[in-house]
Symmetry: C2
Subunit: 273 residues, 2 copies
């Protein structure tokens, strides 16, 4: 075994592979410092595709001299059996749990890919939420703000837009966002546009140093990006959140996923699909 | 057991719970027609929170009279052990796979939550891709179109925008989109704006009936939403895709996730983080 080589890690699915990837990532990051060569193989839903993948896995095993890891989420028994004939350690999600679940539920599972007929309601909820987020990005409109499930508030470039879009795409949540301008921050009151919706507000804060870095990318060496401006704006925004009892979180060390789930939890929002 | 009651299904995680939810959904949808009462419990990362959750699960077990299902993705051994003391069938992702993986890799895993220090590169790639998608939505600008990883092309309302945003958020892919107007469709050439980037184009098609429904929501009883308009535009768009050898897919029965993964695969795009 050549220790300079990274161990191959395959993520295999008969659908998108998002579950297999998430599962594999959660497990692999438990092993500090180890490096893996990851490849994803979605839509492996026929014996032919499975056989072709087996050849790829076996080739990787031979070439690297290291036994590959194969994380798989494949519901079809025949396809799964073919994949398991490849050289590797197989961590198969359906093998691990499906029979236990069948026993508990007292019935037999499908053991096949569900051809998800377009769920029109889900699509519509998602589209509506995405359009809402786009129409209410950066405080452009207070039209229909009463329809918002949540309104994210914070200084420019603190992470509002991607969080709103993620909430819309992942959960169908109608998330608007409102950027706190220097004028808003000088005022002792809540901004006029969002004042009627105080109970929907959620604040985003950020470390001034990180905000400075982000703003430098956008407008280098400007007052806008100066570290003192960043410090002042962040301090004023947090003071506003505290004064009006608006829940808030610091985005600096959080991923968009973590922010979205935290906001769902804090604001007691329910996914729409 | 009261068969009218839905069996409680808990999704438990010491992080966002997205993996536990995906895993649970993939398993539960294998059981046709069964109904479950789902609740998600993210950020269960301390013994106190675990004990509080055990009380909730036990209460659900007593109230429903049905043994709950507990899908969990919890890396900390102590927290996981507490959760497993709750009444229910526990499907624990780390229990199923971690020791096997430790053995294979010849090392001990962390068995603890990784405090993900903000991965600045990941955040920046994501932000850049989201901004790119927003700046190149609906063909508003051909500036920097040469920086695009992919350009989605299709008639109005066929699903371009959410797919672009999902590609940006999930994979850091810079996805632009270009709406085919009636003028574009009358022409025998590719639209001027995207012509220089023919090898980045990917087409989205849709069933005319579904397009009609979507457009009716937006502009009821208009020429734009008329079924004949929809049929003609879809036929013209597909003819254009075929004439210029542009790969395309039908969005009607696909989720945004499926579309995104298909496009990644077809265009050989690599995730940026």
């Amino acid at each position: 075994m050549n220790s300079n080589l990274r161990r191959p890690a395959f993520f295999v699915s008969d659908r998108t592979g998002i579950t297999a990837e998430n599962m594999g990532d959660a497990l692999l990051e438990q092993f500090d410092g180890m490096k893996f060569k990851r490849t994803s193989h979605p839509f492996i839903d026929s014996p032919d595709k499975a056989h072709a993948l087996v050849r790829i896995i076996n080739h990787a095993a031979e070439e690297s001299g290291i036994r590959p890891l194969v994380f798989s989420s494949v519901s079809n028994d025949e396809v799964r059996a073919i994949i398991k004939s490849a050289k590797g350690l197989h961590l198969s999600f359906f093998d691990a749990f499906l029979s236990e679940l069948e026993q508990e539920l007292g019935t037999t599972a499908r053991h096949s890919v569900i051809s998800r007929v377009q769920n029109v309601e889900r699509y519509d909820a998602r589209m509506e939420a995405v359009n809402f987020a786009l129409n209410h990005d950066d405080g452009v409109s207070d039209k229909d703000l009463k329809e918002a499930d949540v309104i994210l508030m914070g200084v420019s470039r603190c992470g509002k837009t991607p969080t709103c879009l993620y909430l819309a795409l992942q959960y169908g949540i109608r998330a608007a966002n409102y950027p706190l301008t220097p004028d808003d921050l000088d005022s002792s009151d809540l901004p006029r546009m969002v004042k009627p919706y105080k109970n929907k507000l959620f604040g985003l804060s950020i470390q001034p140093e990180r905000l400075h870095d982000i703003r430098q990318e956008r407008r280098p060496n400007s007052t806008y990006s100066h570290i003192n401006t960043c410090k002042q704006e962040v301090a004023d925004a947090q003071a506003m959140f505290r004064r009006f009892g608006i829940p808030f979180t610091n985005t600096t060390h959080k991923s968009v996923e973590e922010l979205a789930v935290s906001i769902m939890q804090e604001c007691k929002l329910k996914r729409k699909f």
